[in-house]
Amino acid sequence: MRLILSVLVNDQPRVLARVAGLLGRRNFNIESISVGESEEPGLSRMVIATRGDEQTMEQVQKQLHKLVDVIKVQDLRDHSAVERELLLVKVGAGPGTRMEISGIIEPFRASIVDVGPQSLIVQATGERPKLEALMELLQPYGIKEVARTGVTALSRGMNKAGMALTANG
């Protein structure tokens, strides 16, 4: 099962190391972690995508709560949430294939953000399956480099706190 957690943490040095270290040493799987500022000064929002069975998912959340720098853990399965990832992919493309690629990416609402003599960079955002599909279509042209941000997500509507557990020792 896949789980996306939205974790509010103190914007402190090493807070990423604390979270990543915890997940690693407890043998939890990490698909991606993305970190950035949150709506509140002094706090960052980490979005963690992870996999495991129900018991493991519960343990991940409980163990995260034990970190003093973790303020809130939100299980986005409990909410309707918007989930996005940004993909940058450098594809082999000469004068003959540029237009073709442009046509392929159009339905994905992706855009070409850089053009070189032998390659171009496609930028796309969306949920993972959409990005995977795009990647598959671009494969035949030769994928030279890929950079992905990992998933970030936000619960919909005004229900900000939702079912979040409060911090515990």
């Binding site: 943490v9 103190n10 040095p13 090493r14 190391a17 604390r18 270290g21 915890l22 040493r25 018991q55 519960e58 343990q59 409980k62 163990q63 709560h65 034990k66 970190l67 003093v68 720098d69 973790v70 303020i71 409060t166 911090a167 515990n168 020792g169």
Partner: protein, 579 residues
């Protein structure tokens, strides 16, 4: 009894007068005094020179260990004997890394510690400077929390928070790393009166609904059992546990960390469960229909990792202050998140008596018919006999510390502890070399109590340098070395599981412990048989200062009962019949 040394105001000495601004090291000392710290265990070095300069006034008692590992284990011993945070100071680099075993030990056993390390000046951090180690990074997985102080103005808040985090909720070690320039920097001093940490608010009150469910389950139970762990001791819930067990008529088994949390002579006590547990405790775990885990974490030395053979017919109730423990190892029917003492108190009101009459008779007959046994001898000294003798000679009125291994298990099996915090052991981490320095800390906390460090010839050699400390400060710890000339527990496993291929367990060329002790000016004796053991132990006990007794025990003796790794609790290898 812990003797309060002196109140902060009387002890602050030179610090009360003078400046408006204080250095970081002076502020640190003032904070420690505010927190009521009676004794600091430590070892100086370059990065803590300013801190040791502040200690020069003697405002807080400092015990100079001979190795940082000795210092932190002594701080742990103090903390385990009192429940108050132990405080240890070490310098940067190797001083700090020498604390690692003790920090991990405290983390595993939930012991409150405040570990203060110096670090190099901030402009040198990250440059591989002399005696630089990233101790906050190194200890991140083994601390409850840690701080690297970058601004002297943060220091009072950090110290206040560190003591609060270490000692509340599920206790644990907190590290404060202080770069030397922060110790030297000056600022004005205000100690915060309150602490508010947004991400740390331990829940101590149990949910009333779950207490009601516990009552219902108890009223229906015919074969209830309590599995009590270290949480009973750390929350000070011994009285509540006794009342609970008696009122509801539930037998009690105590984990290694729970020993002394329930009286070893109580008719409802079944002994320790698990790998070297009693027949009664293990069979009660196999057959119970309601298992109430109280401040215990169902670890693999209790369950043997064989959940298919662990309390399979039982509903499991789990009381613990750490929500992450609930459901971690076993599926829980009734989760009770809260302080053990508060949870037990809350459940005493309206607590039903379970329908356990036949069950209690059954488990008590197991205790009678299948006690722990060993074959005694008049030729060689048997370790179990020695432990019994330590018990009888003190009437059980002693604090006993151990390392890990055979001697630890024999103490757990043959010394029925009566008083909470009278058994101090390295439980979760299983660290050799822990017991002797821990005894020093326990003795400082309880100067009038007999403190016995039961150790092995292997473990004693890991921290025996602390003999210098007990000699110099005349700390009357009694060290009982169960000397079998080998690494007993490893030898036992090699005998049973590796076809007697004894690989690197022979310690026959160890030093003469009597002469070793004497070299440190500590009185010492040797005993090779019962008669000598009785005589020299009496002398050691009545000697007013520290003492070492080298009990030369049977080197072939094994710890039984035993459940082999991978086996269930139903497959116990029992000890030899008493002849």
């Amino acid at each position: 009894m812990a003797q309060r040394l002196a109140m902060p105001a009387e002890r602050s000495g030179d610090l009360t007068q003078l400046q408006r601004e204080y250095s970081g090291s002076e502020i640190l000392l003032r904070c420690l005094i505010e927190e009521g710290v009676e004794v600091i265990f430590g070892y100086p070095g370059g990065a803590v020179l300013p801190i040791y300069d502040s200690l020069y006034h003697g405002a807080v008692k400092h015990l100079l260990a001979r190795h940082e590992q000795g210092a932190i284990h002594a701080a742990e011993g103090y903390a385990r004997a009192t429940g108050n945070p132990g405080v240890v100071i070490a310098t940067s680099g190797p001083g700090a890394t020498n604390l690692v075993t003790g920090i991990a030990n405290a983390q595993m056993d939930s012991i409150p510690l405040v570990c203060i390390t110096g670090n190099v000046n901030q402009n040198l951090i990250g440059t591989d400077a002399f005696q630089e180690a990233d101790i906050t990074g190194i200890t991140m997985p083994i601390t409850k929390h840690s701080y690297l102080v970058t601004d002297v103005r943060d220091l009072p808040r950090v110290v206040k928070e560190a003591f609060y985090i270490a000692s509340t909720g599920r206790p644990g070690p907190v590290l404060i790393d202080i770069p030397k320039d922060v110790s030297n920097a000056k600022t004005d001093y205000h100690y915060p009166e309150q602490v508010h940490i947004r991400g740390y608010q331990p829940k101590t009150d149990p949910h009333p609904l779950q207490i009601t469910r516990l009552h219902q389950a108890l009223a229906e139970a015919k074969k209830p059992l309590i599995l009590a762990g270290g949480g009973v001791v750390s929350s000070g819930a011994e009285k509540e546990l006794i009342t609970f067990a008696e009122k509801a008529q539930v037998p009690v088994t105590t984990t290694l960390m729970g020993l002394a949390g329930f009286p070893g002579k109580h008719p409802l006590w079944l002994g320790m469960p698990g790998m070297h547990g009693t027949y009664a405790a293990n069979h009660a775990l196999l057959e119970c229909d309601l298992l109430i885990g109280i401040g215990a974490r169902f670890d693999d030395r209790v369950t043997m990792g064989r959940l298919d053979k662990f309390a399979t017919g039982a509903k499991i109730v789990h009381i613990d202050i750490d929500p992450a423990e609930i459901g971690k190892n076993v599926d829980t029917y009734i989760p009770i998140v809260g302080d053990v003492k508060k949870s037990l108190s809350a459940s005493l009101d309206g607590l039903p008596r379970s329908r356990s009459q036949a069950w209690v008779k059954q488990v008590q007959s197991w205790c009678r018919e299948k006690p722990n046994t060993y074959r005694d001898s008049d030729q060689v000294l048997k370790p179990q006999w020695v432990i019994r003798h330590l018990y009888e000679s003190t009437g059980g009125d002693a604090i006993v510390t151990t390392d890990v291994g055979q001697h630890q298990m024999w103490v757990a099996q043959y010394f029925p502890f009566a008083k909470p915090r009278s058994f101090i052991t390295s439980g979760g981490l299983g660290a050799m070399g822990f017991g002797f320095p821990a005894a020093i800390g326990a003795q400082l906390a309880h100067p009038g109590t007999t403190v016995i460090s039961v150790t092995g010839d292997g473990g004693f050699q890991m921290t025996s340098q602390e003999l210098a400390v007990i000699a110099l400060s005349n700390i009357p710890v009694k060290v009982a070395v169960l000397n079998n000339r080998c690494l007993g527990m490893v030898r036992q496993w090699q005998e049973i599981f590796y076809k007697k291929r004894y690989s690197e367990v022979d310690l026959a060329d160890s030093p003469d412990f009597v002469r070793l002790a004497e070299a440190y000016h500590v009185k010492a004796w040797r005993a090779e048989n019962k008669e000598e053991a009785v005589r020299v132990w009496k002398e050691a006990l009545s000697h007013p200062g520290p003492a070492v007794v080298d009990f030369r025990i049977d080197s072939e003796e094994n710890v039984y009962p035993m459940v082999a790794p991978g086996k269930g609790l139903d497959e116990m290898i029992m000890g030899e019949e008493e002849s």
